[in-house]
Amino acid sequence: MTQALYGWVNLRLLCNRLIMNTANAMIALDKLSKRYGRAPQLALNKVSLQVHEGEVYGFLGANGAGKSTTIRTLLNFIQPTGGSATIMGHDIVQDTVVVKRHVGYLAGEVALYGNMTGKQFLDYMAELQPLKHKDYAEGLARRFDANLQAPIKELSKGNRQKIALIQAFMHEPGVLILDEPTSGLDPLMQEEFFKLVNETRERKACMFISSHNFSEVQRMCDRIGFIREGKLVAEQTLADLADQASHTFKITFHDAAPLADLKKLDSAKITAHSEHHLTISIRGELQPLFAILARHRVLQFEQQEVNLEQQFLRFYRKAAK
C-alpha cells in the first residue's frame, strides 16, 4: 500500500514536471509532422522538442534531413500535416500573427529587396513590426558595420547577411529562429555575432539555430538536436555530448611509445603514431590509460576538444543501422 502510494506520488511529480516543462517552453513541438503533397515519406516525422527561456538550441542534420521544413512549419510558411507546435504558448497555425510578434527570423538563403537600400529595407521591416528601442537597431547596424546606404543588390553576400541579421534581432524578439546565421560573415563579424547571441541569451530570449557549422554550434548552443530523414534521432546537452564523446589525446614520450600496451585497452583507438608520438581516442573510463602512462616518461600530454562532427557522424551511422 505504501509502495503504491509512493509510486503514485512519484508519477504525479513526473507529470507535473512534464507539464511545467511544456508550460515553460518558449518553443514546443508535439509530434509535428509534414508531408509534401503525395510524397510517400514524411518530410517531418512526429518531431517533439522544447526550447526554454534563455536557451540556445542547435538543430543539426544533413541536407534534406528536415531542418528547413521544421523552421518553415514553425513560421507557418507551410502547414503541418500532423501534430502541433506552440511558440510562447501560442499555436503556430491558429495564432500565427500573434506568434510572429515574438519571433525574429533569419532565412537560410537570404532574400531581401534588392532595389531598396539597407536603410529603406530596415525602415520597411520596422513599419511592419515596430521597434521597442530605435537605438538598439542603430547599435546593431554600427556593431556589424553594415552598409545601409547602398542598394542591397550591390552588396556582397556577407553584407547582405549582416542586414538580414539586423532585421531578425532589431525588434528584440523573445524567440529567434535562425537558419545558418553566420553564413558569409567574416571571422570578425562571426565573433560579433557570438557576442550578440550571448547578450540575447542573457535577456532570456531563446534561440533555435539550424546550422551545418559544427564549431559554431558547439560554441553557441546549450543543447543540440540531431535530425535525420525527418526524425529527431537524438537530443543532448553539450555537456552530455562531451561525456559520451571519445576523448582524443596527443601524447609525446621520452622513450618509444608503448604501442603494444595501449592497443590492449578497451574502447581505445590509436589514430596516428610515430616512434615517440601517438594520438589515441578513448571512450569511457580514462583510468586504464593513465595506469599505462604512469609507467612511462611522458613529455607532453594534450587533450583535443570534443569533436561534434564525429558525434554527428556517429548518430547518423547509428540511426542508419
Binding site: 509534401y36 518553415r72 513560421l75 507557418n76 510558411f77 507551410i78 502547414q79 500565427t96 500573427v97 500573434v98 510572429k100 510578434r101 519571433v103 527570423y105 532565412a107 538563403e109 532574400a111 531581401l112 529587396y113 532595389n115 520597411y124 521591416m125 513599419e127 511592419l128 513590426q129 532585421q167
Partner: protein, 265 residues
C-alpha cells in the same frame, strides 16, 4: 497593410509612370488623327460596308466605323485598349504575389506580424491603384484631345468607356492573381491561361454573330458583356458593369480563401 501597399506602389513607380505615359500617348494619337477621317466619313463608311460581317465584327461592335463613337471603338476601345489594359492587368496579377514568392521575399513579409489575408489584400489594392492611375491618365489624355479636335462625345461617356475597358481587363488580371494565390509556381500558368482567355473571349464574342455555335460559349466569356460603342453613345448598360464587378470580386474571394492556408514555396 498600409506599409505593404505604399511600398509596393513605390517599388512600381517607374512601371506606373511609363505605362501611364505610353497608354495616354496612344490614345492621344488615336484621337488626334480623327479630323481627316471625320471629313471623309461617308466615303470611308461606304468602302468599309463591302467588308464581310465577320471581318467587321472583329474590328468593332458597330458597322459605322467613322462616327465619333465608332471610330474610337474601332481604333481603341473595342480591341486595343482592352489588350493594353489586359497586358497591364495580367502582368500585375501574375507578379504582385508570385514575384515575391519566387524571390523568397514573401517569407520576409510573412515572418512579420501580418496575416496572409492582409498581405494579399494590400497587394490586390496596389494592383487596383496602379490600374486606376493608368486608366486615369488614359481618360485625361482622351478627354483633352477629344476637346481639342472637337470629337463630340461627352467627357463622362469617354471616362465611362475607359473604366469599362479597364474593368474588362481587370477580370483577366484577377484570374492571373487567383492562380498565383492558389498555387505555388503558378506564375507562368497564370499568364498563359489569362492571356488565352482574353483572346479567346474576344474571338468568340466577335465571331458569334457569324459562327452561330460560338454564341452560347461566348455568353460565358467576359467580352460578351462589353459594348464600348454603346457606352460611348451614352447607352451603357449598368448590368454589364455589375457582372464584370461580380466576377472580379469572386476571383478575389477565391484568392483570399486559397492563399490563407496554402504552403508557401
Amino acid at each position: 497593410m498600409i506599409p505593404i501597399l505604399t511600398r509596393t506602389l513605390w517599388q512600381r513607380r517607374w512601371y506606373i509612370l511609363w505605362w501611364s505615359v505610353g497608354v495616354a500617348a496612344y490614345m492621344a494619337l488615336v484621337v488626334g488623327v480623327y479630323p481627316p477621317f471625320r471629313d471623309q466619313a461617308a466615303t470611308l463608311n461606304h468602302t468599309f460596308s463591302s467588308l464581310p460581317q465577320a471581318a467587321k465584327s472583329l474590328i468593332a461592335d458597330t458597322n459605322n466605323f467613322f462616327s465619333p463613337e465608332g471610330y474610337l471603338s474601332a481604333n481603341a476601345y473595342y480591341l486595343m485598349l482592352p489588350i493594353i489594359f489586359g497586358i497591364v492587368c495580367i502582368g500585375l496579377g501574375s507578379s504582385l504575389l508570385a514575384r515575391d514568392e519566387q524571390d523568397h521575399t514573401l517569407e520576409l513579409l510573412l515572418s512579420r506580424p501580418v496575416s496572409r489575408g492582409r498581405v494579399l489584400v494590400a497587394r490586390a489594392l496596389a494592383g487596383l491603384c496602379i490600374l486606376a492611375v493608368i486608366a486615369l491618365s488614359t481618360s485625361a489624355a482622351t478627354m483633352v484631345l477629344a476637346w481639342l479636335v472637337k470629337l463630340h462625345i461627352p467627357l463622362a461617356w469617354l471616362a465611362e468607356a475607359t473604366v469599362m475597358s479597364a474593368g474588362l481587363a481587370l477580370i483577366f488580371g484577377a484570374l492571373a492573381f487567383m492562380f498565383t494565390a492558389l498555387g505555388r509556381g503558378a506564375r507562368a500558368a497564370s499568364v498563359g491561361i489569362a492571356t488565352l482567355l482574353l483572346f479567346a473571349s474576344y474571338l468568340f464574342t466577335s465571331l458569334s454573330g457569324t459562327v452561330h455555335w460560338l454564341s452560347w460559349p461566348a455568353k460565358l466569356l467576359p467580352y460578351n458583356y462589353y459594348h464600348p460603342t454603346d457606352v460611348l453613345a451614352g447607352k451603357g448598360n449598368w448590368n454589364e458593369a455589375i457582372i464584370i464587378l461580380v466576377v472580379v470580386i469572386l476571383f478575389g474571394a477565391v484568392s483570399y480563401i486559397g492563399f490563407r492556408r496554402r504552403d508557401i514555396s
